[in-house]
Assembly symmetry: C2
């Protein structure tokens, strides 16, 4: 069973001082004689004292914890962000709670609620949908929060936005520059804002090049989760439509398309060029390696952390940060 932990009281006793003095020594919150300091530090070392973060948090109302809420940690896009965040946070002395919503709206609110009970200092919210209730709650209680890819400005001012329109534009433009004239758009989760924006970018690039937007080669699927399969289906549908390029709004879709093409003997990029979106680890490893739009996780994580720290320090409400995607050219274009 759990051993009784060493407390400041124990340290104080051993050092022959009073407990608040130990606190002062540790926190440097009063001037203490070197003699006492030495005795206290010696006692701490000897007893292997570990401050109790709960007690401290209860008293100071600052727990040095941050919550990460994301749809799915096995999605490598989120995993990368989570890793970077956790890294940065631990350096700053924060612990991080994490939780996956599994794309369920209900659990979003439940998790925010739960984290509030644990007095987290801040929350980084990565929703797939615009879910107002939890954001409203966060704002209402003044919990420092940053959201990813969301437009509910009325609740949370601090957000990290990927410029999805720009990404769609750059991806499509790249295909055009490769001489492609008939470029399909293949989206999953078409209802999601990010996907809509990518589609807007796609249209802008086509228009700019004087190319028509043909609804026959704009494929969208509302299916969640089974994203690879969606791409696979798309691949089958598209071959008959005499296209020479595809912009897939997600790497998983692109990979599905690639797989389908391989099955059908279509040569990539000779017959059809493919651009994905996200730059997940698989993209690089696919055969042929996938050209895609990269969304730099480090930048997102860094921005999110900075925003949170600003809010925690009470230096403002944070602001909107736009992170630009980058084209990574590999072998499918």
């Amino acid at each position: 069973m759990k051993k009784q932990a060493v407390t400041m009281k124990d340290v104080a006793k051993k050092a022959g001082v009073t407990q608040p003095t130990v606190s002062h020594v540790i926190n440097g919150t009063a001037s203490i004689s070197t003699a006492v300091k030495e005795r206290v530090f010696a006692a701490i070392k000897e007893l292997n004292y570990r401050p109790n973060a709960l007690a401290k948090g209860l008293k100071t109302n600052s727990t040095k914890t941050i919550g990460l809420i994301m749809p799915d940690i096995t999605n490598s896009y989120y995993a990368c962000i989570a890793k970077e965040m956790e890294q940065l946070l631990i350096e700053k002395g924060y612990m991080t709670f994490f939780s996956s919503t599994n794309y369920s709206r209900d659990s979003e609110m439940r998790l925010v609620d739960k984290m509030m009970r644990y007095n987290v200092d801040g929350i980084f919210v990565m929703f797939e949908f615009l879910n107002e209730e939890p954001l409203k709650t966060l704002q209402q209680y003044g919990i420092p929060a940053v959201v990813l890819d969301d437009d509910a400005e009325q609740f949370i001012k601090s957000k990290i936005n990927m410029d999805n329109e720009l990404g769609g534009y750059l991806a499509t433009k790249h295909l055009i520059e490769r001489g492609r004239k008939r470029i399909a758009f293949a989206a999953e989760k078409a209802g999601i804002l990010a996907m809509k924006d990518r589609f807007e970018g796609y249209k802008r690039a086509l228009k700019e090049a004087g190319l028509p937007v043909d609804d026959a080669i704009v494929l969208r699927d509302e299916t969640l989760q089974y994203r690879f399969d969606a791409g696979h289906d798309y691949g089958k549908q598209l071959v008959a439509k005499k296209i020479d390029g595809i912009f897939a709004s997600t790497d998983m879709v692109a990979l599905g398309v690639l797989r389908s093409f391989a099955d059908q003997g279509i040569k990539v990029p000779d017959d059809i060029a493919v651009v994905g979106y996200d730059d997940i680890p698989l993209a690089e490893l696919a055969t042929p390696a996938l050209t895609t739009m990269s969304q730099p996780a480090e930048k997102v994580a860094k921005a999110a952390m900075e925003q949170l720290l600003v809010q925690i320090a009470g230096e403002g409400e944070g602001e909107k940060v736009v992170v630009n995607p980058q084209l990574v050219v590999r072998e499918t274009t």
Copy 2:
């Protein structure tokens, strides 16, 4: 700024009772008249009261939090385990802290220390190396702990072991059953116990079939992290050695090998059959899809959680659980 949270005191005041009574109502720890109960619940609802988990934890010495320490959350094997664990834990009312060590031994100890400060109820430790100090500490303080793939029995009794020897055996046997006679072994991180065990299984299968173990086609690399590249190198080396099968001790290596074969025009599985290990999400999506040994993350997570709960409940020290890998036959064999 953070708004002052609603406390039991506020609820008590509104309900016209004393604060401990509210506690009793909430926890069902005394018989309370329905009238009072109703008033209390009404007040809770009206004020939107959220219990303070820190205060409760401080008092009860049970925080309902679990720590997950893993090498790297972007590694999909760990991500899957993390997701499953978190899922199961949240259902049981636990929050989960997570932290990546990035394969650094120092941070392992630091993280254990940190989590102890936060009074976690238990820790699931996933190390890559056998690192005694943190385990010793955990044991010394009686913190419920479960380790993954580790043999330091002297410290932590509760562990989840993948039967890597069996996995290596099954993978190799499968290749033999496919008529392969000259099967290479390609390992990364050869110093790690898991990899050694897989190698043992490989040898057992070969011996059983009367096939020689040829050192010339046993490749090992101590490089960490760049695992795909290792596989790629292996692929180049192996082609000249007239092999007809490969057991790669990791999917990433297998994928690297696959990639290298594709570059060299080697047909898989016709020329050379390939079996990987881990069944990472990429395995299914590769072209051709990778035959591999699957390590069921759900089983690992479930076992780990059960072990932790047993220890937390004070019902024992936990035990060793062996999880068997399973062969997943796809297109590379």
